[in-house]
Symmetry: C2
Subunit: 412 residues, 2 copies
């Protein structure tokens, strides 16, 4: 198996001043093409630290991926240090200068002195064009090890990897043919899911691997097949997929890159259905889940954030006696909220949430994390009580996930 | 300066299956007490890899902080590997067993075989109680280097560090007295801010350092003083702070751990003022900014998500002719939205957003990122046009930041 090491260069990441999202993304992409990351490291902007990690990494890995330290200022010493490490020197790369000049020209600017330095590359570098920024990517081969250098700006790095470097890595290392299938689940924890499918998992052929990728409220299962022939592999992975699907069907909401709010949105759009929301404890977060999806105006009409009882009564038309008798966090209240918002916005469905997100406001009867959700349709209103009890932001997030999934399972 | 190295153990992080947020948090905390992180590494769950990184780290650092690999299952080999590295052995730690038993009892459970192993510690470990979970923290001293081991679960790790380990580190290493002052700004980029204050920055005494901590839409400035006497230091940092404040005053919204939505909420509460929102392009995100703050029901009454024109007209009372004549993304529309929501919800302020979040929907006149915001008060309504043009989620986030800041600057 090809072994990779990922190195991040920069004081800002080392001292915790900015978040490094590149390393996780790169290792996940390498994992998908069957390359094993064996070490991730972050070092500061000093020649000594960079040379030391290059030396160490070259002994452990076949592929060394380096991000950061390629800016135009004097703090950024990655290129100089590569030269020292390889025994090469910096020279203007003609194509890099042409691309850099074009990049600036497109934005109505000239290449100035400091920026012109970005077209200087170590003499042993293979130039990789960066269409999204001014620091080029570089590819080196040295004593049997491949080194890749990229800027640390996440979208520039992702552009370079996706467009140029991942295909080049696959070609260079003749990585095996890989086929992935991702199953996305919601409403079940990782360990329960693992128990449900452990017999199936144990019986998987050795060239098909399963990975659990959990996040808050959902778990992705990724099947990865390794082989020589893509068609055979696809059939084999598909066959395993067909075996496991019936076992976990009720928790599966999508595949591949599907997000729950996208799947729900797509189904609503396909069926010509619309939604509105009446949010109390989620306070806008549920609306945001719908509207962060591009094109959501096709099915999301709007809603009311009825945080106070006055807004529940005056704008949403919840009966004062319902609130007085059962409280804002009750099945009776969410039923009225969901039915009224559906009528007010003239939508296929009305979704309502009311609960105690915390940290305060809990009672022995209704502790923090007690949340009622309801969905009204033309002929029927369904409700569900959630007992969450986590931190405030978790309670809000999980409420949104739960009601989206309830809508999907019941009516989409 | 004390040199630290942070090591994360676990295949899941190495292969990019889960996000590592611990490393950044730890290095930022160390930075605050004047300890310099010199390397961060992530290795897999193999004895060879762990021993190798321990050996390397002990040569570079005075303090080696290790997270992960402390679970009860056989994959988790950190403790065994520590024993091998130190030449010690695992033994039940009496106090650890007492605390573990109490932890389970509180949750109505018995300590079973697999979990009992969590009370086994290397014989040379100093036991550090973990009140939030079952895997104890550990402190080792070996050949002049301190090693700390903690579970990888973020809130358990943070609890251990904050309650026990950071004070113990400061005591052990006799770290210098440190005083921090954080200034939080919004509405100006890092490089413009740096230009504004560069004379002041250049004149800072050598024992007071400045760090820029940028995030989307805001920049924190952190002044850190190092010395012997906390009172003198506090005065010195405060004096520098008083010099810089007038230069950047208009961009300063808070200090320390203040978040913009918390500052706005606190000011509203103090002054007995209330808000409501009429959201089009932000689709609930602005409401979520208010309501994710605990206790926000004191000042956030509610609002209307008027995503469709029908909801703008029927629920919010925007005139159909305003929409027809000027469009939904116009100053005229957001003025009506903000004034109407203020009256409907009977609040001190009504906030409104309408814009083209993208990626679709832009026109030559109104490209993606064109956003109008308005705030209505009893006697006056103010508006602002934003020209953002980033990605959809950025446009939504920056719109919320802008309107919160406009409210703060104008009326709070």
């Amino acid at each position: 198996m090809i072994r990779a090491e990922i190195i991040t260069i920069g004081d800002e990441i080392l001292y915790g001043q900015i978040t490094d999202t590149n390393t996780q993304w790169i290792s996940a992409e390498l994992d998908k093409i069957g390359i094993r990351t064996v070490r991730k490291s972050s070092v500061g902007d000093t020649e000594e630290a960079i040379l030391q990690i290059f030396n160490e990494a070259s002994q452990r890995a076949d592929l060394v991926i380096v991000t950061g330290g390629l800016g135009p200022t004097k703090d950024d010493i990655t290129k100089k240090t590569f030269c020292k490490y390889f025994g090469s020197s910096l020279e203007i790369h003609p194509q890099a200068l042409i691309d850099l000049t074009a990049f600036f020209k497109k934005r109505g600017r000239e290449v100035t002195g400091l920026n012109k330095g970005q077209a200087e590359l170590p003499t042993n570098a293979t130039y990789i064009e960066n269409t999204m920024g001014t620091a080029p990517g570089m590819w080196f081969e040295h004593e049997g090890v491949v080194y890749i250098s990229m800027p640390g700006v996440p979208y520039e790095m992702k552009g370079l990897m996706t467009l140029s470097l991942l295909p080049k890595i696959q070609e260079h290392f003749k990585t095996p043919v890989i086929f992935h299938k991702v199953i996305r689940t919601v409403g079940i924890g990782e360990s329960l899911l693992a128990e449900m499918i452990d017999e199936w998992e144990d019986a998987l052929p050795s060239h098909i691997k399963l990975a659990y990728l959990p996040s808050m409220g959902s778990v992705k299962l990724r099947l990865t097949g390794f082989g020589d022939n893509i068609d055979t592999l696809e059939q084999e992975v598909e066959a395993e997929f067909q075996k496991v699907l019936p076992i976990i069907q009720e928790f599966v909401y999508g595949f591949g890159n599907d997000e729950l709010e996208e799947v729900v949105g797509r189904l609503l759009k396909e069926k010509g259905l619309t939604v509105s929301v009446a949010e109390s404890c989620t306070g806008g977060y549920l609306g945001h889940q719908f509207t962060k999806v591009a094109g959501s105006s096709a099915y999301f009409m709007g809603g009311i954030l009825s945080y106070s009882n006055e807004v529940k009564i005056n704008q949403l038309g919840v009966k004062a006696e319902t609130l007085a008798k059962f409280g804002a966090v009750s099945e009776e209240t969410v039923i009225e909220m969901s039915e009224n918002i559906r009528k007010l916005c003239n939508t296929s469905f009305g979704l309502a949430t009311s609960g105690i997100a915390g940290p305060d406001g809990g009672t022995p009867d209704k502790p923090v994390g007690t949340i009622w959700i309801a969905i009204a349709s033309e002929h029927q209103t369904i409700t569900k009580k959630l007992q969450l009890g986590g931190f405030r932001e978790q309670n809000i997030h999980l409420t949104a996930i739960n009601i989206l999934n309830l809508l999907r399972k019941t009516w989409l």
